[in-house]
């Protein structure tokens, strides 16, 4: 690009007629190129999903036809966690009081403490029963199952919710219990 060379004033030392091949600098300004490079890097970093999806194992118990063969549960060492709509969590330990006074409301942050407390205060027969109702989401269920592995709860079960429990949840959530479809 000799035509751009305007600095040809300096050297005619070899005299007229001798064509001087001017040494052009080979240096190019690389700044825009670096800019572009980093822009693309940023783009790729943000679009790459580095984390591979993981798999969370769940083993289901086989259905037992005969109720006598079912695992008997020590009622006092059980913690029942109920999942409602809008990420609401409810729990009670042991058996549900008919008046519902041991039925407590919680959320996904606090339930960990509840599980830990109960776990530390009971022997090895400790068990968690998870009862999602119809308004809870898949995410809630996975979260609570995850909570089991976080707290190293060895024994837990996913159980269908019973009618009174569903009613209690709906009342607590401020719904008219009469309109509820009820648990199946």
């Amino acid at each position: 690009m000799a035509e751009l060379d305007t600095s040809s004033g300096g050297g005619h030392k070899k005299g007229p007629g001798v064509k001087k091949s001017k040494k052009l600098s080979t240096r190019v300004d690389l700044t825009p190129m670096v800019d572009l490079g980093f822009l693309l890097i940023t783009f790729f970093i943000f679009t790459t999903s580095m984390s591979q999806p993981t798999a969370f194992k769940l083993n289901l118990p086989a259905d037992v036809k005969n109720p006598d063969q079912q695992n008997k549960l020590n009622e006092n060492s059980a913690l029942t966690i109920l999942l409602g709509k809008d990420n609401n969590v409810f729990y009670y330990s042991g058996q549900l009081d008919p008046t519902g006074k041991n039925f407590k409301s919680s959320n996904f942050k606090d339930i960990r403490q509840v599980i830990m407390d109960k776990k530390n205060n009971t022997d090895s027969t400790f068990m968690v029963i998870i009862k999602p109702n119809e308004q809870s989401t898949y995410k809630n269920v996975v979260n609570i199952l995850d909570e089991m592995s976080i707290n190293l709860v060895g024994r837990y079960a996913l159980v269908d919710i019973s009618q009174p429990e569903d009613q209690l949840i709906r009342i607590t959530q401020g719904e008219n219990p009469g309109t509820s479809a009820g648990a199946k």
Binding site: D63, Y138, V142
Partner: protein, 223 residues
């Protein structure tokens, strides 16, 4: 007492080295990126602390999108495709669907199956890029009395007898529990008691029991 002359240094830095680094990194990221195939069924998976990477072979995956529609897909390997064909053949003869050979081949090539049994031949005639969660209604699971996942799982159970099977369930955050329960029921009914749920990794919260355990025995394979 003239002050010593400070040489005016040029502020231009040699960019070559920086440029080299930038493009090296760029090349690395381009090559290391595995482009996600655009998903026809969008599913936002929940997060869990599970650290095992989801398998990619010998899989049968049930996807559940946010409306609770279910779709079945298998892995991309040749064995997986062969098994998918057998599953389709089994279900075809069991239910007398009257699918032709070419229908079945089209369905094997399809990325997933997401129609009621009665509409399988219609899905077979759809072009591949038209198959997505908008056009396909999903496998009916909502109704407990007409849970077609049962039939599919029965076929899966028969075909994979004695073979290694990774049953994956990929559910969306917003899917409701009853859909999930119906899928589990279908699995239970067919003695498929082990399955894995696809999740996004998440760190173990500090101070919890699992965290303490992991601290004690340095990160090894945990359940």
């Amino acid at each position: 007492m003239g002050r010593p002359k400070i040489a005016r240094k040029s502020t231009t830095v040699d960019m070559t080295a920086m440029c080299d680094v930038a493009f090296l990194l760029l090349t690395f990221f381009i090559l290391a990126t595995k482009f996600k195939p655009s998903e026809a069924v969008p599913v936002n998976t929940p997060r869990s602390v599970a650290s095992k990477i989801a398998p990619e072979n010998d899989i049968v995956m049930i996807s559940m999108d946010k409306e609770g529609h279910a779709y079945i897909s298998t892995g991309d390997g040749s064995i997986d495709k062969e098994n998918k064909k057998q599953i389709l053949n089994t279900i075809n003869s069991d239910k007398n669907l009257g699918l032709t050979e070419s229908d079945i081949n089209a369905l094997v090539a399809a990325p997933f199956i997401g129609v009621p049994l009665s509409q399988l031949s219609q899905q077979a005639k759809l072009p591949k890029d038209k198959m997505n969660s908008q056009t396909l209604p999903g496998i009916p699971i909502k109704d407990t009395s007409n849970n077609e996942m049962n039939e599919w799982m029965k076929a899966v159970h028969d075909v994979y007898q004695g073979q290694k099977l990774n049953l994956l369930l990929k559910g969306d955050n917003a899917a409701m529990y009853p859909s999930f329960k119906n899928i589990i029921d279908a699995l239970k009914k067919n003695d498929l008691l082990k399955f894995q749920m696809v999740t996004n990794p998440q760190n173990v919260p500090e101070g919890t029991d699992l965290w303490k355990e992991n601290m004690e025995k340095k990160p090894t394979a945990k359940e």
